[in-house]
């Protein structure tokens, strides 16, 4: 497992979407969440869907990874659809099953809302699929920068996130080692009642916690020895840069918004 371990859902790649500045991606997604609500007819929905589809194709992330990201929300999408069919009583009756009628309005609404939902999830999961967690961290640090004025610990937060990211694989490797060591002593994690299994996890968690605290202490010392004294006067190796492609994508996005405004029904 150690060699395939990837934190989060990131799928390495070299596409335009991968290469966009993470701040561009986050900003666009933020606005996408709003413009999704502008669409209210076939043309405007098509524009949205086309944009999402185009982003997906450009990212060259294999469909199965995207689908995997959608798995937990399929239920919600379908549920929303059914709910609308049952609740909405507008338009003409299309189908009558015993005393229960399905209205055209319900079907349209159901499709529209589910589609909105689907597109939102699709676009947001594209962010985590094409951006490494550390890039996201850098972007958040940069975008929260103004909050420093009100003493919000932006740098500290970002450092905490990046150190967590750095130690997740290490702690996972350690968990595996400890659980093997405990299993070899006869601790059984897989069978027995829930209570028994919960009990079996204790000898796994305690050594893990003890070592995590020791790590934290030693890491703090090592950081201090290497001259760490907070964010003041620090420079950064990792650099975020808005390139021509970011500008191009922003312009395209503005065109999409304009398209939506022009085609939507008022």
């Amino acid at each position: 497992m150690n060699n395939t371990l990837i934190i989060g859902q990131y799928v390495p790649g070299n596409s335009l979407v991968h290469k966009l500045d993470p701040r561009t991606k986050i900003t666009l997604i933020f606005f996408f969440v709003f413009i999704v609500f502008l669409a209210n007819n076939v043309v405007s929905y098509s524009i949205l869907a086309l944009f999402a589809l185009a982003s997906m194709v450009t990212s060259r992330v294999p469909i199965r990874f995207i689908m995997k990201g959608l798995t937990p929300v399929w239920f919600l999408i379908v549920f929303t659809f059914i709910l609308h069919i049952i609740v909405t009583k507008e338009g003409t009756v299309w189908l009558e099953i015993y005393s229960f009628q399905i209205y055209s309005g319900g079907v349209f609404q159901g499709i529209a809302i589910s589609l909105r939902f689907f597109l939102l999830i699709l676009i947001t999961s594209l962010l985590t699929l094409t951006t490494t967690p550390i890039e996201i961290t850098d972007a958040i640090e940069d975008m929260l920068h103004p909050l420093k004025k009100v003493k919000f610990p932006v740098h500290e937060l970002a450092l905490m996130m990046s150190i967590s990211l750095r130690f997740i694989p290490t702690l996972m490797q350690e968990t595996e080692k400890i659980s093997k060591a405990q299993a070899s002593r006869g601790v059984d994690f897989r069978t027995g009642s829930i209570k028994d299994r919960a009990k079996a996890v204790v000898p796994l968690l305690i050594p893990l916690f003890v070592s995590a605290f020791k790590r934290a202490e030693e890491l703090a010392m090592a950081m201090e020895a290497r001259g760490y004294k907070g964010g003041e006067g620090r420079t950064k190796l990792r650099e975020l840069k808005i390139n021509a492609r970011d500008i191009a994508v922003y312009l395209l996005f503005i065109a999409v918004i304009a398209g939506l405004l022009l085609t939507r029904g008022y």
Partner: protein, 279 residues
């Protein structure tokens, strides 16, 4: 005359008021370009000395001078620039998410401009033979590789002295050799003092001078050869004596007159065959 780089003047230290003294009236000097080994049993105060040198701790009594500057709250940031440290656990000192991020950490802390960082990362990773691993994540590196990255991170800020506090203790023999070779090369190319803290007598052989600690006191200060000659006493203070030294001793008991204390297998071999050819 070489410049004095580190000076301990009657330093005593304890972690808490009610605790026993961990260092008792220690005085020693370390010079520029010197290679020093500090050995001693577990708990003899070696790590404490290292932490005192770069101001992670401050002594209750006595004075510590680094390049003539006393170590105080005001000077520690300058001093940490001059004193680089590599610790025992390869994982618990790796801060960055990739090799180059980790090497950059110390430079970022000092506000070094990005362009210069990039050049220095290249340079220091090449110095430790890790130039092909810029973007590798720590969990894909061996212990020895992680320690080499740690050394690179220290070299990148060009310190005057590099302290290795049992930096090879958690490595396999291959990792150990890797580190020892790296250090030899690094010390040749840079003018750098080296302090190797270890409880493994094998690692003292390459140093110019050895400081032996015992229960917080300086027990002896001498060349590796002189130290090796005192193997019985060393054993009594809880140190592992290398096999060669023991073998040489046994041979002498059996009546073979060795002319000097051998430090390794080659030297013993040399002694033996020249001995044989003269009789």
């Amino acid at each position: 005359m070489r410049e004095k780089l580190i000076e301990f003047r009657n330093v005593s230290f304890r972690y808490r008021e009610e605790h026993p003294w961990v260092l008792k009236n220690c005085s020693f000097e370390i010079y520029e370009d010197e290679s020093i080994a500090i050995i001693g049993h577990n708990g003899s105060g070696k790590s404490t000395i290292a932490k005192l040198i770069n101001g992670l701790l401050f002594p209750q009594e006595g004075e510590i001078l680094i390049a003539g500057k006393p170590v105080t709250e005001e000077t520690i940031w300058d001093i940490r620039k001059d004193v680089g440290m590599v610790f025992q656990n390869p994982d618990n000192q790796f801060v960055g998410t990739t090799v180059q991020d980790d090497v950059a950490f110390g430079m970022e802390n000092r506000g070094i401009p990005r362009e210069e960082m990039i050049a220095r990362i290249e340079e220091s990773l090449t110095a430790v033979g890790m130039q092909d691993y810029h973007l590798t994540e720590p969990h894909r590196l061996s212990g020895g590789q992680k320690q080499r990255v740690a050394i690179a991170g220290v070299l990148a800020v060009s310190p005057k002295v590099l302290i290795l506090d049992e930096a090879t203790a958690m490595l396999d023999p291959k990792g150990r050799t890797e580190i020892m070779n790296t250090l030899n090369q690094v010390q040749e190319k840079n003018n750098l003092s080296l302090i190797t803290i270890t409880h493994d007598l094998h690692e003292v052989v390459q140093s110019d001078r050895v400081i032996v600690m015992n229960h917080g006191e300086i027990w002896d200060e001498a060349t590796p050869r002189e130290i090796f000659a005192k193997k019985h006493a060393l054993r009594e203070i809880g140190l592992d004596v290398p096999f060669v030294a023991i073998l040489a001793d046994e041979l002498q008991v059996k009546g073979l007159a060795l002319t000097k204390e051998p430090l390794n297998h080659e030297e013993l071999l040399e002694e033996l065959w020249t001995l044989h050819s003269t009789t």
